[in-house]
Structures are given as C-alpha cells and as structure tokens.
Symmetry: C2
Subunit: 214 residues, 2 copies
Amino acid sequence: MPHRLNERRIAETALGLVDAEGVDGLSMRKLAAALDVSPMSLYTYYPDREAVLEALTQLVLAEVDVPDEDLDWRETIRQIMRSIRRVGLRHPHVAPLINRFPPRTPDALAFVEAGFRAFRRAGFDDVSTARCYRALAVYSMGTFDVELSGYFDQHPGGHAGTDSLAAPSMERHLPNLARIGPALAGQDDGAEFEYGLELLLTGFAAAMGAGGSR
Amino acid sequence: MPHRLNERRIAETALGLVDAEGVDGLSMRKLAAALDVSPMSLYTYYPDREAVLEALTQLVLAEVDVPDEDLDWRETIRQIMRSIRRVGLRHPHVAPLINRFPPRTPDALAFVEAGFRAFRRAGFDDVSTARCYRALAVYSMGTFDVELSGYFDQHPGGHAGTDSLAAPSMERHLPNLARIGPALAGQDDGAEFEYGLELLLTGFAAAMGAGGSR
DNA sequence: ACCTGAACACCGTTCAAGT
DNA sequence: ACCTGAACACCGTTCAAGT
C-alpha cells in the first residue's frame, strides 16, 4: 500500500508546484519527489511533461463559475468573463497555459456550455454564437497577457522608462509615447477590463439587432 | 580577426533558429555553434538566454509597417493592426514572445508612436488614447493566442472531437458545444480578425463622440 | 574587453528490469 | 499494470583562466 498514485493526484500536486514556483519550477523530477515516487512512475499516467501541464490547466479551468440560468445573456457573459479573470488572478502562473490549452474535460467545459446556452436563449444563431465566443476568447487571453505579466509595467513610457537616462532622447524621438506613458501606467486593470467587455457586448447586441439571426 | 560577434548578429541568428525550430529549439549552445563561437562568449553581449529572446523579439517588432501620415485615424489603426498580424503569421514561433516582451528599441516602438500620433490628430485625449491602445494590445495578443497555436483546432466540438469515441456522450452532456463546434471549426481567421477590429474601432469612435475628449 | 574549456547542477525521457 | 534505478543526451550558467 505505498503511494496511491493517480492522474488527478498528480495533476493537483503539479498545480501546487506551478502556483508556488511557476511553470519553469515544475520538473518531472520535482513533481515525483513531491509525490514521493520515482520520476519514471509519472509516465504510467502521462506520456510526457506537456500532458501534465495540460491536465493541471483543466483543473484550473474547472474553477470558473457557472452563472444562474435565469440571467440576461449580457449578465451571463459578464459573470463568466469576470470569473475567468478571477481564476487567472488566482493562478497567475497558469494563465499562459490557459492561453495554450483549450478546455477539454466536462468540468472545464461547463462554463463554455453555459455561455453557448445564454447566446442561444437570446436568439443568436450558431455562426453568430461562434463569432462571439471567439471574440470573448481573444479578449480573455489578451487580458491575461497584458495584465498578468505586467506588460505595461515594463513598457517604455510607463513607470519603467520615466526616470531613466534614455528619457530625454525618448521625448525627442517618441514624443507621443512619452506623453501617453503616464496615462498607461495609471490604468486600473479592473476598470479597463470592464470597459473592453462592455464594448464587445454592445457590439454583439448591435449585430443581433441588425439581423444577426432574425 | 575571428568572429565579429555583436549584439545584433547574435539576435539575428537567434531569430533564425527560433523561426526554424521554435523557442525550445533555441539553446545557448546551439546559438553559439551557429555563430561558430564558444557558448560562453554570448554572455559578453547578453546576461542570459531570456535577454536573447527579448532582443530577437525587438527585431520582429521592428518589422511592423508604419502607415502614411495622411490617413484617417481608423485606417491608420487598421493598417497597423493588420501589419502586426502579418508579422505574427510570418514568425509564428515568435508570437508568444511578442505577447511577453513589450517594444523597447526605437525601431520596435515606431508603430506605437505612429498609432499614438493618429489618435492625437483625431482629437483623442491622452487617457482615451491609452485606453484604446490597451484594448488594441489585448486584441492583437489574444489574436496571436487563438490563431497561431491552432487553439480552436484542438478545441472540443471543433474538428478534433467530431468523430471521436466521446462524441455521443458529448452531445448528451454538452449539446450546445456539440452544435456550435462546426461553426467554430469553419471560421475564417482573417474575417474574424477584421470583425473584432471593426467592433473596437466603432466602440472607440462612439466613446469619442459621446465626449471622450471634447 | 572579449573569448575559452571545464565543470556544476540540473533537465526530460529511454531502457532494461523488477513486481 | 505499475513502479524502479541507471543511463543518455541534453540544458543554462559559474568559474578560473587566457588574450
């Protein structure tokens, strides 16, 4: 009765390691050590390290909340998108993996199905729904990219470049960048997320009204 | 007169390796071999592998075209965004790096400055310009994520899952996903990109008219 | 300063073998 | 089937040394 290894326990332990030390901090050897087994025993359950990363991503995607069924389609999408963002903020090191591995397990697909249901209830046809889903996927992934890796923190003109030696030369050659930098650095992540989200929802609604499906 | 090593030549050779073999295919040892020097000589020019990846990304960002100055602001943004997408398609293995490393060199920042100029000419204030720029950054990065890694090709309900053994059970438990899958698989990347882009531009224009800056 | 070879501390995964 | 230890073919980077 030694170790009771199984797919789920391996994925959960791997998720803990990635949350704690980042994706690069997850090695098959460290994972095995954390489970108190030999490295090669993991290969009974997963063909390679990539499969472990995919599996741990499914666990995280399953954390996305499914809204109540009686909501307006806009509010349903808002709640799903906000929950996705919260999950990303809770697992910042997993966010890049979410952008690589689509949901696959039934638990991970629950929020996708819920979103599709909302569009259908609202009268969107399948092609329009696919189009909206794609736009929302693009938006959540892009949000992870800019928000969770401090993209604008390192962006010249933002906080980083302001008081560097290069600043005078930047004002000369890139005056607009220099002027807009502070506005970029002062952005509120949550507010910008809501702004873009409403912009998408408004666009979807307009396409609907113009004859998207009826 | 041996090797004439320098920052740029290293970055260009590294870009060639990444284009050919992917990010994982770039090792300091292989890069050194391609330049016919010892691995450690690279560390005279770059502190570590990460810095080499950042440098090669700057080279790629510098490939983005800067539109003519006499264009409408919408058309300026369209042309910049399309050029970014083309650059990503030309260097698919570099796209994930573009999502991690902001433009830093003057050449890489040229298109950013051009975009800021266009917004300014159109009367956007700095805060609105920063907001639009962020939304466009989110959009281009999300586009790279979904388009260049075949996100929807592996997505259940799309091409992959259709004729698998799990299909019947999926139709039972995730009926909307099953129905919308084909529409997702049939999407035209270019058309969807244009759709989302117009949606953003329309939203920006509406915010302007409603008193964004005047 | 620029470049080197040797070494250190790791990797993922294959293999042959055990139960 | 499940798990093991040893080995292979790599890594990035430190170090001490050369010019």
